[in-house]
C-alpha cells in the first residue's frame, strides 16, 4: 500500500550524519533528525554550531562523511535527481548576480531545476513577495530585504516541497522580519515543509512548530516549542547578603536556593509565567531569618546559558545512561 507509506513517511530523515571538513574540523557529529511533512522546524543554535553545514549537506552542496539522509523517502546521494527537485534553498549570504533582473533570475532558477516556463506561477510568487513591480529591476538596485525576498522567490520557483531558510532574518529590520514570518506561515498553509535556522529564540518562538537545538555539531534537543519556552521562562533572583554565610538557615530550605562560592549571595530560580513566583514569600522568610540584604538583582537566562545547561544535562544523561548499561 504505497499510500499509507507516503502518509507516514517523514519528509526528511537524517541518520547518524557526520561531516568532517577537509581541514579536519568535525562540523557535524552523529546527527539524527526527523522532519515531518508540513511542519515548520527551527534549527536554533549559536554561530558556528553547524546549522549551515547541516542544511548544505541535505541540499547536496556539502558532501557528508558519514551517515545517510533521505528526502521524501529518496537517498540524497543515490537519488539526488529526485531529492534536489523537492528542495528549495535560501542561503544565508545574499548571493545574487548583480546585473540580472528579478524576473530573469527567478526564471533561471525554475529552468535550472528542470521545469518548463510558467509565467503565471512566477508572477504569483513575485506578487506574494511584493516583488512584482520590481520584476524588471536589476538585483543590485534592490534593498537588502528585497534581495532576500528575491532569493526566496528563486527557491520557490520550482515549487519545492521543502524550503530551507538559512538565517532569513539576520540583519533584517523588525518590520521585514514580521513580513518574513508571514511568508513562512503562508508557505506552511500551502503545505510546504519549512526548515529555518536562526540564533534568535524569539524567532523560533514566533513561527516554529518544533525547535531543534544544535550546538558544536550535535543536536541537543528536539522539542515542541512550548517545552522550550518553558525553559526560557525561567528567571533568577540573586540576593546579596551583607556578610558571608556558612550555610543558609533551615527556614529557606524549601526554595531550592543555590549559594555562591563565597557565601555572600544566594540565587533563586522561578518561572515568570507561574501564577505565584514565590518572590514575596522568599523575601519575607529571608527577613524573618534575620539576614540583612545588601542588594537584589534578577536575570533572565540567556540563550547562551540555556545552551550551557543543555550541554551539561546532555553530558549527565549520557554518563547516567553509561552507568545504567554497566549495571
Amino acid at each position: 500500500m504505497p499510500e499509507t507509506k507516503t502518509m507516514t513517511q517523514p519528509m526528511i530523515s537524517i541518520n547518524g550524519l557526520q561531516k568532517t571538513y577537509g581541514s579536519g574540523f568535525e562540523a557535524l557529529k552523529n546527527v539524527d533528525l526527523t522532519i515531518e511533512k508540513g511542519e515548520i522546524l527551527a534549527l536554533l543554535g549559536p554561530n558556528g554550531a553547524g546549522k549551515t553545514t547541516l542544511i548544505s549537506t541535505i541540499c547536496g552542496i556539502s558532501v557528508p562523511t558519514g551517515g545517510s539522509i533521505a528526502v521524501g523517502g529518496h537517498d540524497i546521494i543515490t537519488e539526488s535527481g529526485k531529492t534536489r527537485r523537492l528542495i528549495g534553498l535560501v542561503p544565508q549570504e545574499i548571493t545574487l548576480e548583480p546585473f540580472e533582473t528579478v524576473l530573469a533570475t527567478v526564471r533561471f532558477s525554475r529552468g535550472l531545476f528542470g521545469l518548463g516556463p510558467n509565467p503565471a506561477l512566477l508572477e504569483d510568487i513575485l506578487k506574494r513577495l511584493s516583488l512584482w513591480d520590481k520584476k524588471d529591476t536589476k538585483t543590485k538596485e534592490l534593498s537588502g530585504g528585497m534581495k532576500r525576498r528575491v532569493l526566496i522567490a528563486k527557491a520557490l520557483a520550482h515549487e519545492p516541497q521543502v524550503l530551507f531558510l538559512d538565517e532569513p532574518t539576520a540583519g533584517v529590520d523588525v518590520e521585514l522580519r514580521k513580513d518574513m514570518w508571514g511568508v513562512v506561515r503562508d508557505l506552511k498553509e500551502a503545505g510546504v515543509t519549512v526548515i529555518l535556522t536562526t540564533h534568535y529564540i524569539e524567532e523560533a518562538e514566533a513561527i516554529a512548530d518544533r525547535v531543534a537545538i544544535i550546538s558544536s555539531g550535535r543536536i541537543l534537543l528536539v522539542d515542541e516549542k512550548s517545552q522550550l519556552i518553558e525553559r526560557m521562562g525561567k528567571r533568577s533572583l540573586t540576593i546579596d547578603f551583607d556578610r558571608s554565610l556558612d550555610a543558609l538557615p533551615d527556614s529557606l530550605a524549601g526554595y531550592g536556593l543555590t549559594q555562591s562560592q563565597d557565601g555572600t549571595s544566594a540565587t533563586y530560580t522561578y518561572d515568570t509565567r507561574a501564577e505565584r513566583t514565590g518572590i514575596g514569600a522568599l523575601l519575607r522568610d529571608v527577613n524573618a531569618a534575620g539576614l540583612s540584604v545588601r542588594d537584589i538583582h534578577t536575570a533572565q537566562s540567556s540563550l547562551e546559558e540555556i545552551f550551557v545547561s543543555l550541554v551539561e544535562e546532555d553530558a549527565n544523561a549520557q554518563s547516567r545512561a553509561g552507568k545504567g548499561e554497566a549495571a
Binding site: 571538513y21 577537509g22 548544505s56 541540499c59 547536496g60 552542496i61 556539502s62 558532501v63 539526488s80 535527481g81 529526485k82 534536489r84 527537485r85 528542495i87 534553498l89 542561503p91 549570504e93 548571493t95 545574487l96 548576480e97 548583480p98 546585473f99 540580472e100 530573469a104 526564471r107 533561471f108 532558477s109 525554475r110 529552468g111 535550472l112 531545476f113 528542470g114 521545469l115 518548463g116 528563486k154
Partner: protein
C-alpha cells in the same frame, strides 16, 4: 535523464550576459582583430612576399581567427563559471538537479557559441579587406566549431581552478597568448630554423592553426591527420578532467 531545461537556462543566461556586455564581449575582439587585417593585410602585407603561394594578408586570416576564438573561448568559459563562484551564487548550481552533462553543455556550449559567433564575424570582416578562398569549407566549419568547443572546455577548467581574478587571467595571458603567437599565426613554421621547428611541434596550438589553415588553403605545416588526432586528444583530456572534477567535487564542494 538529462535535464534539458537546465541546459537551456544556463545557456540562455550566458548568452544574455554576452548581449548585455556586447561592446566588450563581441565588438571589441572583432574590432581589434580587424585592425590586424588592416595593418598586416592591406598595409604591410602588400610588401611581404606570399607565403606558400598565398598572399600574406590571406595567410594570417586563419591564424588570427584561431587566436581570437581560442582566447575568447577560454575567457568566456572561465569567467562564466568563475563569476558565480566569486559572488557565491554557485550554491544554486550545486544544489540543483544537474550534473556534469548539463553544466558543461550549458556553460561550455554558450562560451563555444559566443566564440564561434565572433570567429564568423571576423571571417566575414576579413573578406572586406582581403581576398580569401576556402578550399575545404565543410572541414573549416567543423574545425572551427571543434576548436571553439575544445578551448571553452579548457577555459571552464581554468574557471573552476581559479581562486582569484589574477589566477583567472594568468593562464590565458601567460600560456595561451605566447603559444598562439609562437604557434604560427603569423608565419609558417617551415620558415623557422630546424631546431625551432622541432620545438614548435611541442606546441599544441601549432596543430590547430595548421589544420585550420589547411581547410583554407589546402596546404599545412603538419600532416592533417596528426593535427586532427592532436585536437581530439586535447578535447578528450579536457573532458576527462572536467568529469573528474565533478565526480570528486574538487574546488566546487566542501
Amino acid at each position: 535523464m538529462i535535464n534539458l531545461h537546465a541546459i537551456g537556462a544556463i545557456f540562455y543566461y550566458e548568452m544574455a550576459r554576452a548581449v548585455r556586455t556586447a561592446l566588450q564581449s563581441i565588438i571589441s575582439p572583432v574590432l581589434s582583430t580587424s585592425l590586424y587585417f588592416v595593418v598586416f593585410g592591406a598595409a604591410i602585407g602588400s610588401r611581404i612576399e606570399s607565403v606558400e603561394g598565398v598572399s600574406y594578408g590571406a595567410f594570417i586570416v586563419p591564424g588570427l581567427i584561431m587566436l581570437t576564438v581560442m582566447t575568447q573561448g577560454i575567457t568566456n568559459a572561465a569567467f562564466g563559471i568563475y563569476f558565480p563562484k566569486f559572488i557565491g551564487s554557485i550554491y544554486e548550481l550545486l544544489s540543483a538537479p544537474v550534473g556534469v552533462v548539463e553544466v558543461v553543455a550549458g556553460y561550455v556550449g554558450a562560451a563555444a557559441t559566443k566564440s564561434l559567433i565572433i570567429g564568423v564575424i571576423i571571417l566575414i570582416t576579413a573578406t572586406f579587406f582581403i581576398d580569401i578562398q576556402i578550399a575545404h569549407p565543410v572541414a573549416m566549419v567543423v574545425l572551427l566549431i571543434t576548436i571553439c568547443f575544445a578551448f571553452s572546455l579548457f577555459g571552464f577548467i581554468i574557471g573552476i581552478w581559479a581562486q582569484s581574478f589574477e589566477q583567472l587571467q594568468l593562464v590565458p595571458l601567460l600560456i595561451i597568448t605566447p603559444l598562439v603567437f609562437l604557434g604560427g599565426s603569423f608565419y609558417s613554421i617551415t620558415m623557422l630554423p630546424p631546431v625551432w621547428q622541432t620545438i614548435s611541434l611541442f606546441n599544441p596550438v601549432v596543430y590547430l592553426i595548421s589544420a585550420f589553415r589547411w581547410s583554407f588553403f589546402g596546404t599545412a605545416d603538419v600532416a592533417i591527420g596528426i593535427s586532427l588526432a592532436a585536437i581530439a586528444l586535447f578535447t578528450a583530456v579536457c573532458i576527462g578532467i572536467i568529469w573528474w572534477i565533478f565526480k570528486s567535487g574538487t574546488r566546487l564542494k566542501s
